[in-house]
Symmetry: C2
Subunit: 322 residues, 2 copies
């Protein structure tokens, strides 16, 4: 076992899975682990699972967790790195009150633990190590169950009063589709994987034909994952194409509005759907933005997240660089 | 005549009027002048008029133009301070090619001349001297013939690649109203004074009743100015109320989307209409934003521009502080 204290850990805490990596000083991945996010046991149960996944990654990297320079965590919810707590972690079990995640992990792992917002750390990872390295200003769009966003201006994250980046709740159509947030016409109401699934279920209830749910059942899933959407598109499923077209249109409108406001150099498309669909879909989003760009003679570059699914964990590991 | 070189000049070059001021080192206005913007004579004619207005202001302040520390200009169009040129100045006569405005004014006035974008200098003025002094991050919305925007983050202007702030071309309704920019559903298509007038004319052509154009004719105007709108509202004019309600709703949607993205501390409502309507309308816009704010428990402060109509000229004068 190595005791190289220049290695760092990164944990990406997602609603369905926990991903952990160990990176060296060049940010090369030396080991990784992945497990489902527990659906019960509350925050303590989730923290125990996080420690377990990090230990798996450390074992693969042949390093002791206690010898790591530190472990970073990218988490949903209200993250307070100073206090070491996470509250209101949306999709996670019974996680409303502030829970001392940093202390809990430090006890289990024996090294310093740093906390960050999941989308913000993924944005930093793309800016420093991924598709954004050529740009000093960018917007990252995390296209998944919801739609998150991260902003980098002059090479630094812009967090506002802590809550900047909610591009998913840009209103793309006043009075439009109902959003899971309770409002109407948000980008996420058209393009979030959750909202798309809600709509697919309503269409099926009204008699629409689709293979989406058949594929889901064949794979033993209970939700329409990114892979299921991709598979249905490949099969030429009409409803899947219709809902994705609608999502791409809304992404074009919402991202173009953000670009009109901020005039950034680049837009990075990440998140589960963004990474799964890759470059061809990023090009479709770029084309959908074009009609709405005020300075359409100088559009921003549009890129797929370069770190793929690992962006969250890579960004988390960057938190531990001090 | 004083030869106090700590005094500075500011010129606000608008589509209908040119406003100039002289300020002292405490940014107190010591003299001012105002003339219509020439409708012919091209850029050289406009520059000559600008010099004349600045000389009027200097005479009122009892200072020689040549003794000023400098004169700043807030201009529409593509402003290049380094080259001293302005190109594509939208509403100004025959002003497409780059014109050496700085050199022309320097010849006429005998002091250094600095150029800036009109909305950007007005934003800086509000941030440093007006309604924004308590905030380190804000969005300025210049609500006039069009809708411009300026952004201040961490106390500094955010210009992007030079064209940031186009909040008027945030899409508030995908596929919605036609905008003067040629696109659809832009905030400006609903709330710009130009678009509102276009719509009022169309409604009248379809038989709608309104006093708007009667008031316009009584005042010898050819356009619906901010005062005409205000007067019609006071009279209870139905069409005026309907169009303003529609504008306020669109402003609420578009500004809330910008706040969701940037999480700024404050929103400042300026421009001809914003200043003319004042606090009661700012409160209506604040209320219209509320339903669309993702973090509605912590809305930004919403304020009317504190420098009123002088913001543009005050901001221009700040350019000359070096």
């Amino acid at each position: 076992m190595s005791t190289d204290t220049k290695m760092r850990g990164g944990i990406d805490l997602g609603g369905t899975k926990i991903e952990a990596i160990i990176v060296d000083e060049r940010n090369e991945v030396r080991g990784s682990g992945r497990e489902p996010t527990p659906t019960d046991g509350g925050p303590a149960g989730v923290a125990a699972q996080m420690a377990k996944v990090l230990k798996e990654a450390a074992a693969a990297a042949e390093v002791e967790p206690a010898s790591l320079a530190g472990v970073g965590v990218g988490s949903p919810g209200d993250v307070n790195d100073e206090a070491g707590t996470v509250a209101n972690a949306g999709n996670l079990p019974d996680w409303t009150d502030a829970f001392s995640l940093a202390a809990s992990l430090k006890d289990a792992l024996g090294c310093p633990v740093h906390l960050g917002n999941d989308v913000q750390v993924a944005t930093r990872a793309e800016a420093e190590l991924g598709a954004g390295t050529d740009f000093s200003s960018l917007i990252m769009v995390a296209w998944g169950t919801g739609i998150g966003g991260g902003i980098v201006l002059d090479g630094r994250p812009w967090l506002g009063r802590g809550a900047a980046g909610e591009i998913g709740h840009t209103v793309v159509k006043d009075g439009g589709a109902h959003c899971r947030c309770g409002r109407r016409g948000c980008l996420e109401a058209y393009a979030g994987r959750g909202s798309m699934e809600d709509r697919a279920r309503r269409e099926v209830a009204k008699g629409a034909q689709t293979d989406l749910f058949t594929i889901m059942e064949q794979r033993g899933r209970t939700r329409l994952t990114s892979s299921i959407w991709a598979h249905a598109l490949e099969r030429g499923d009409h409803l899947a194409h219709e809902l994705i077209d609608r999502a791409v249109n809304a992404l074009g409108v919402g991202i173009a509005s953000a670009v009109n406001l901020l005039d950034v150099e680049a837009v990075i498309i990440g998140g589960g759907l963004g990474v799964r669909f890759g470059q061809p879909m990023a090009e479709r989003i770029e084309a959908a933005m074009k009609p709405h760009l005020f300075n359409d003679f100088r559009p921003p570059a549009v890129r797929v997240a370069g770190l793929g699914d690992l962006g969250g964990a890579m960004g988390a590991a960057l938190l531990a660089t001090g």
